[in-house]
């Protein structure tokens, strides 16, 4: 009895201290920020006091322009993920199931994957124009690589015994893919989409900051140009929060699939 209570109490206390440490960390960072802001060491608004940032945040969230730009960026991101994701899925499946193609091309993917895609931006502007088209293209190119690489690895990682089970039960290729291969590679697939989403945000926002007249990236660079630091920081907070929430959400999904895919006891 006593043992049970101790066992259950220990993790609870641990959780509490983790959150406590987090709160302390946040308070310390904000405190240092505020001290720096009040110290006058920096030029005017470079480090604005917290209340100014809070004001900027309230003003931003109350303005219609913000939501219009958010809608533009959101639209670009969704299309970028759809295009780059589907292309990555198809290429990844081909590479993962055909050893010859993988031997021939997969090294290209892994070499091109980490190179900065922003250098392609001028080409994208010429091809797709200065509006959303070029931003979607940047996002799509960015997320294509991690998704294709994870899908190829995931497809190769499918346990051959599971495929043999399908063959011995006369599964057709459609059933083999949707009932065996796809669920077996769910964890790397979700992980690839998560990584892809991250780089798609980078690609799209970076493109918006370079040449654009709409979108969150444009708003950030515009606030910077006008030296409206409270608004710029407000935008950064909103963007970081958004990315963090999406990532946390995707990680939960990935964990769920990962738990099912790798939860085999030895």
């Amino acid at each position: 009895m006593a043992a049970t209570t101790r066992v259950t109490a220990a993790p609870a206390r641990l959780n509490l201290s983790v959150s406590a440490i987090r709160v302390i960390g946040a308070v310390v960072i904000l405190g240092i920020w505020q001290l720096l802001a009040l110290s006058g060491l920096f030029f005017r608004d470079v480090v604005p006091p917290l209340q100014n940032i809070a004001g900027g945040l309230i003003k931003l969230l109350g303005s219609g322009a913000f939501y219009a730009n958010l809608a533009v960026t959101g639209f670009e991101l969704i299309l970028a993920l759809a295009i780059g994701g589907i292309a990555g899925l198809v290429v990844g499946l081909l590479l993962g199931s055909r050893a010859l193609l993988s031997d021939a091309y997969e090294s290209w993917l892994s070499y091109l994957g980490p190179t900065p895609k922003i250098i392609l931006f001028p080409v994208m502007i010429m091809l797709f124009g200065v509006d959303s088209g070029s931003k979607i293209a940047m996002g799509a190119i960015s997320c294509f690589f991690p998704i294709a690489i994870s899908v190829a690895a995931g497809m190769r990682g499918v346990d051959p015994t599971l495929r043999r089970v399908g063959r011995s039960l006369q599964a057709n290729s459609w059933q083999m893919f949707f009932k065996i291969e796809l669920p077996a590679m769910a964890a790397p697939l979700v992980n690839g989409v998560r990584l892809g989403f991250g780089v798609a945000v980078i690609g799209t926002l970076l493109a918006e900051t370079k040449l654009s007249n709409q979108g969150i990236g444009f708003m950030i660079i515009n606030a910077y140009t006008r030296f409206d630091m409270p608004q710029m920081y407000a935008l950064l907070i909103v963007t970081i929060t958004f990315a963090a929430v999406v990532n946390a959400f995707a990680e939960r999904i990935a964990k769920r699939f990962g738990g099912a895919g790798s939860g085999r006891k030895p």
């Binding site: 015994t161 599971l162 089970v165 939860g263």
Partner: protein, 285 residues
Amino acid sequence: MIAERDIATSVAPGAKPAPSGPPPLTVENVTKRFGEGPTALTAVDSVSFTLDAGEFVSVIGPSGCGKSTLFHVIGGLSDVTQGIVRVENETINGPHPAVGIVFQEESTFPWRNVIDNVAFPLELRGVSRSERHAAASHYIDMVGLHGFEKRLPSELSGGMRQRVSIARTLAAKPRILLMDEPFAALDEQTRLLLGDKVLQIQQQLKQTTLLITHSITEAVQLSDRILIMSYRPGRIKRIVNVDLPRPRTSDVVSSPEFGAIVADIWADLREEASRGLQESERGQG
């Protein structure tokens, strides 16, 4: 004499007609070679045998005798170099729908719970959910996993997962059950108990079964006939009839008749196994 000696120098094809209808499984002069030229390895050499309906036959041999290769060939998962495998007089060319396979490796789908794993073959055939769940429950009960329907494989022990695989294969209603060392990864006690389960199922379904194993006790406990394979190239060295009375349970392992058959088989296998051991040691040296 408990074990009838019968030196099997490739039984002439079609020499023994089955009592009723075509024999479920006929293996005729099957040879499987890997590679070409002087480095070619003959894994299985001119193996011939026939399975009668309802018969439980084991193939036993030392590691490297080609018994797993033979399993893959009969399962249609691997081509033959020479010879023919016939299922109910139909020459196979890939996995045959009448043959149900239980693999040695983990083969449950980790993302499906027990009932959906077992219902999988019926799902492939487009059987409705309620119907296939009813059928799956029947086989889950048969392998003794009642109450575990909603569990994921990761929540089960290795022996339980292997029983899920057996139930899944049975749910496809195969006319021939082909098992490749299904209990190899399990401890001796669990193996004996699962052997009981297999005996019960055999009793219930009169399932024609071919079991590949390296365990002599398992083979004697379960089989009507045992094919002893030689080490490289894999040939059928001898066929032993097991005349122990049925129904059997794992209690049979303590009977003197059981011991006599095991000793008889071991005498043959020891020779092959030590040859295999010597060769693998030479290969490493």
